[in-house]
Symmetry: C2
Subunit: 336 residues, 2 copies
């Protein structure tokens, strides 16, 4: 069964294709009678507009690319949901690619998306600076690009969606202190990720304020996996560095750490309290449930989609940075 086109309708009704088109588009220059006939015939024959033809006509692909570091945690899927909330009703398709935290794959993905003629790209970086020229070239080629969560350095001209990393990291650490913790370790991610520094700064500010600073308590990880979180606490333990609580950069790192603590029969939160940043479902499926900074992921996706739409409409519209509010959720992992 071949697809029904406007031409088929035109033959069927002995009308020109332009009349059919006008009828279907609710053009004013059309006899209501004719319009009705066309619409009915379209319905009857099962006519569906061919979006490809339209895209060619208007020089758009109506594809938006999304690049994320991973989809193992629900983080990206939540953001995707937000993006689709905005973009689906407008007829945009979202093409998803995963970079696996690997800048080389990210680069490939970007290339792929460019070949796919996407009208814009929404991206969560896996490395702050390594592909900077690639982003620049994209922007030069008038392909709008919006960064969210893990963004590039300030020199890059583009819109961004982020959260109040530093402030909320401070609050988490302050919360740990308020519950009586004095030796607060920080598991930070790799330094090639921007927020890592932001959240670490929040941490440092507060421990300094309370005179609890100890550089030994900060462990940087190689990557962002559960395994990296494990290794981080293991390192602390192996080095015999005493700590009574942990603030981890992400849920993933925190959970990896928790698992190692469990295996060592270290009680959470009695012996070691633990808190993190992200706020995905993951925080609620471990035991004890994880205190974490909840990011409005779906809203972030919506905001990013909105920003990309603005850029698509007018490529020279000014860049915006949207900072979203997060919420600190207290759970059993830091209970007293």
């Amino acid at each position: 069964m071949k697809r029904v086109t406007i031409k088929d309708l035109s033959k069927f009704l002995s009308l020109s294709t332009s009349t059919i088109s006008r009828a279907l588009l609710n053009d004013k220059n059309i006899n209501p009678e004719t319009q009705k006939r066309v619409v009915e015939a379209a319905e009857k024959l099962g006519y569906k507009p061919n979006s490809t033809a339209l895209n060619l006509k208007y020089g758009k692909s109506k594809n938006i690319g999304l690049v994320v570091p991973e989809m193992i945690t629900p983080f990206s899927s939540k953001v995707l949901r937000g993006i689709q909330n905005v973009l689906d009703p407008l007829g945009y398709r979202v093409i998803i690619t995963q970079s696996d935290e690997n800048p080389l794959i990210e680069r490939e993905n970007l290339k792929l998306l460019e070949e796919f003629n996407v009208d814009g790209i929404i991206i969560n970086l896996c490395h702050e600076s390594l592909n900077e020229e690639v982003y620049k070239k994209l922007i030069e080629n008038d392909i709008p690009i919006v960064f969210f969560d893990r963004i590039p350095g300030k020199s890059l001209q583009a819109s961004r969606v982020i959260v109040d990393d530093q402030i909320k990291a401070s609050l988490v650490v302050e919360h740990l202190i308020n519950t009586g913790r004095k030796r607060i370790a920080h598991i930070m991610g790799p330094l090639t990720i921007r927020n890592v520094t932001e959240r670490a700064n929040g941490y440092k500010r507060i421990v300094a304020k309370y005179n609890l600073t100890d550089p030994d308590l900060i462990v940087s990880t190689e990557g962002m996996t559960f395994e990296d979180g494990r290794k981080a606490v293991q390192k602390l333990l192996d080095k015999n560095i005493h700590f009574d609580s942990i603030f981890a950069f992400s849920d993933t790192l925190a959970i990896g750490a928790m698992n190692y603590l469990h295996e060592q029969n270290i009680k959470i939160p009695e012996e070691v309290a633990i808190a993190s940043f992200s706020g995905t479902e993951l925080a609620t499926i471990v035991h004890p449930q994880l205190t974490t900074v909840q990011q409005p992921l779906e809203k972030m996706g919506e905001a990013a989609a909105q920003l990309i739409l603005e850029k698509i409409k007018d490529i020279s519209s000014s860049d915006q940075t949207i900072i979203m509010e997060t919420e600190l959720i207290y759970r059993a992992s830091t209970a007293t």
Copy 2:
């Protein structure tokens, strides 16, 4: 900066567009000299083929739709990875939609994908039968559709990718018995999902074989969330039904159950062993780690992609059902 087209190249080199086209396509009827000039000019001016034009030309959208129940667990993203392994190099784009385990949303997604002119659809159902006519209509309209994991009833003519559900469910239960468990509970998902029955049958077969049958030990859940898993054990406990182990339909259900057991201070695996089916990373991030049947998710995605490609190439090619091998992974949750 406007996109460079074949026309621009033709003007630039004073050649016809067809010559340009031929050069770019490595046609045999072309002077190597000319070819070289064209390729160089294309490079220099930054020519990129316009896929939309090609799609229109060939009557394809080169879009494949993917419909999954959720992306909270890594299940679907793993499958997606497999699909993309096959489809990306061929220039296909994958459009992802989530049905949230809601047949109505699934229906909307399908409608959306049809409007998007996808060349084919790969789908993991959220309800065995509710949207059957929709799938049928899609097939009638010559839109190839491949089902994986949760498939529809046999009456539907389409290719499928599944796993050896019943056999492996049996093995899990047998494993529990071998480790000395006698009161094995089964948390099954909603009966509207096909594999639920399959895995339950595997369970029933084995408990019957060992004379351990007790209908009270089977709990069906309303949905597939962590919460549903929680509620299931809670029900058993509230009813004072004694059990020393659990076989859960999925990792999600199992983890929900684990959490409730933890809260009730019931030791895993000492008091209650627990095993499940799925084999995502989720099984390894809880404590104790979960014994589970690992499905070759990436491979399943690849297989599904392959099947859809066959159908795209030849819509009348015969339907296939691929049954993939799974692997039972023993972990601490069922240790003795």
